[in-house]
Amino acid sequence: MNVHARRQPTAAEAALVDAFVDRMGELPGDGEISSARDNAIEALKEQGLPSRRVEAWHYTDLRTLLRSVAPYDSAAGTNALPPIISGSAIAAVSNGVSLVAPRVDGVEFQKFSEKLSEGSVIGDLAIRDGDDTIGQINAAYVTDGWAVSIAEGIELGAPLELQNIQTRGQGHVRFPVKFGKGAKATVIERQAGGEGDGFSTSISNVTVADDCEITWIILREHSEQSTQLAQFIATIGRNAKLNLYVVNAGGKLVRQEVHVLAQGEGCDFQLRGVNLLGGDSHTDVTMTLGHLVENTTSVEIVRNVVTDRARGVFQGQIKVNKIAQKTDARMACNTLLLSDDGEFDAKPELEIFADDVACGHGATVAEIDGNHLFYLQARGIPESEARGLLIKAFVAEVVEELQDEELVEALEGILDKWLAAHV
């Protein structure tokens, strides 16, 4: 006998599920795309939003934290933003609608809405697993985005900036990006908000072929009202390098998932995270990394600055397959806690099935060092400025690893702006 009592859906759950009937007519794609959307919304309806009882969401109880969902607002669209590095090619989506494709030699851009209408992206809408709430919401509602294909051997002279602008209202986008063999590029995935109440999901599906060298920077600046749930999903080929930066500088409720498979021998994955957390925000960076074959390497360094009543989460799971001998994987999560009411939870998880590997992880939480502060003050630097310098130094160390000076400068500008507003 099934006595499974049906739980009353929360306001956010009801809003997410009920909107489907109204939205259906406007969502691109039919046939198999439609059924993929139906399956996604059914799964969401069945499971509801994950609570803390779901292991993967333990520190981000979405059922409690997501109180409401901003309604769609057809007037929320904007123009593209000026790029953070001048000369970048911009492929923008605003309010769930792609704008104009840039022209870059060796790079093809196609609106994701067209691919949905053509029905050529069915596999991409697959849900990862039962805990994949972001995948469910996005598959059900995705309207647009950019499918980008970089030809073999192309070396981009300027960054490619993918913009997802959601100033208010609701939007769901995807960026499937394929780098051909030996490509070298810097991509800036800019997740931008406005002043308003927004709800958005964004999924980047990235294929890094053999011998590529890719730097990918996720830069998030959202308002204190907006919620964003995002995924970065990548596979890395033989001898390729993927250098991923996640910079969170705003948003009320943010979850950035990173799912990476190191599947080509000799490949390397680097993750650098900078979480600048203030106000009443909740920010979660959750990574799963699979070392699937021999001789792969990875390093994750996450630096967090927490002030006010902000709460942050970093979950880092590294899985080393039985055949993945000589894996070298290291993970560190360091937090600078500036207020008594701030909180940061770090959960490392190593699952190692091979026996000849080097894996390690560490986490620290500290306040500003009083000796450092005194030293700077003794040289005439006023306390607030000295604190600012030390906080910036804590995260700038990670940013300065980037070789590109313009990029370092642009990111430090964002740090400065955040510090000026929050410290």
Binding site: G370, N371, H372, F374, Y375, L376, Q377, A378, R379, G380, I381, P382, E383, E385, A386, L389, L390, K392, A393, F394, V395, A396, E397, E400
Partner: protein, 251 residues
């Protein structure tokens, strides 16, 4: 320039009294050496002059150019011209030395109502000062003091002192950890700053540094008090006889 009157101070955290009725006067143009055995309160005195919060003044006063500085925080004291060369300069990862120098110089200028330095002017000053201390300018591109040897750190302190042009320089055991060549360079740097409107307090355990920075006055600190003052010959006496007889005399 500096007048310390019946100063009593303790460690804020546990209330241990370190300075117990200290009196000291240092005039403009004077180089005063403060000597004393370990634990006599020498470093504590330097921290209290710089305004470190870990110490609490319970009695007495510190007058700088006739005004009490007890209510000023460290950055305000620095802007007024008080400089402490640290015994153990801090390593601060992530803060580039050049950036630090620029912020420090311009913060002090701002506090004094002066315009910030233009970049070429700033760089010119740094290059000149670094060359006079035989320092490689490349070192200044590194994070502040990170990976510097003991000698390099002390040189970097003197470099900061030259650039900030303070009026009262307090050198806390600047000779510790220096070989003789580095000691000479550092001492030359200090001597070059000697001027009629500037006072220098040299805190040291040994006479050695005073061969190179010749003091006008020497003060012996013991148990948080100045127990004897004299001219430079007092330092030589201490070198030969140790502290025992002076301590005995005072007791």
């Amino acid at each position: 320039m500096l007048e310390i009157r019946n100063l009593h101070a303790r460690i804020a955290e546990d209330g241990t009294e370190i300075i117990r009725g200290l009196n000291l006067t240092v005039k403009a143009g004077e180089v005063a050496a403060i000597m004393g055995p370990n634990g006599s309160g020498k470093s504590t005195l330097s921290y209290i002059l710089a305004g470190r919060e870990d110490y609490e003044v319970t009695e007495g006063d510190i007058l700088y150019n006739g005004e009490s500085i007890l209510d000023l925080d460290p950055s305000e004291r620095a802007a007024k011209g008080i400089f402490l060369a640290f015994q153990y300069p801090m390593e601060i990862p992530g803060v580039a030395t050049m950036e630090f120098l620029k912020v420090a110089m311009n913060s002090q200028r701002k506090a004094r109502g002066e315009e910030p330095l233009k970049i070429p002017e700033f760089l010119g000053r740094v290059k000149t000062a670094a060359a006079s201390l035989d320092m490689d300018i490349g070192m200044l591109k590194r994070p502040l003091n990170v990976g510097f040897s003991g000698g390099e750190k002390k040189r970097a302190e003197i470099l900061q002192m030259k650039l900030l042009e303070p009026k009262l320089c307090v050198l806390d055991e600047t000779d510790s950890g220096l070989d003789i060549d580095a000691l000479k360079i550092v001492a030359d740097g200090v001597n070059a700053l000697r001027s009629p409107d500037r006072a220098v307090i040299v805190i040291t355990h040994y006479q050695r540094l005073l061969d190179y920075i010749v003091p006008d006055t020497v003060h012996v600190l013991y148990k948080g008090q100045v127990i004897k003052s004299g001219g430079k010959e007092l330092a030589l006496h201490l070198e030969e006889n140790g502290y025992a007889d002076i301590i005995g005399e005072a007791a």
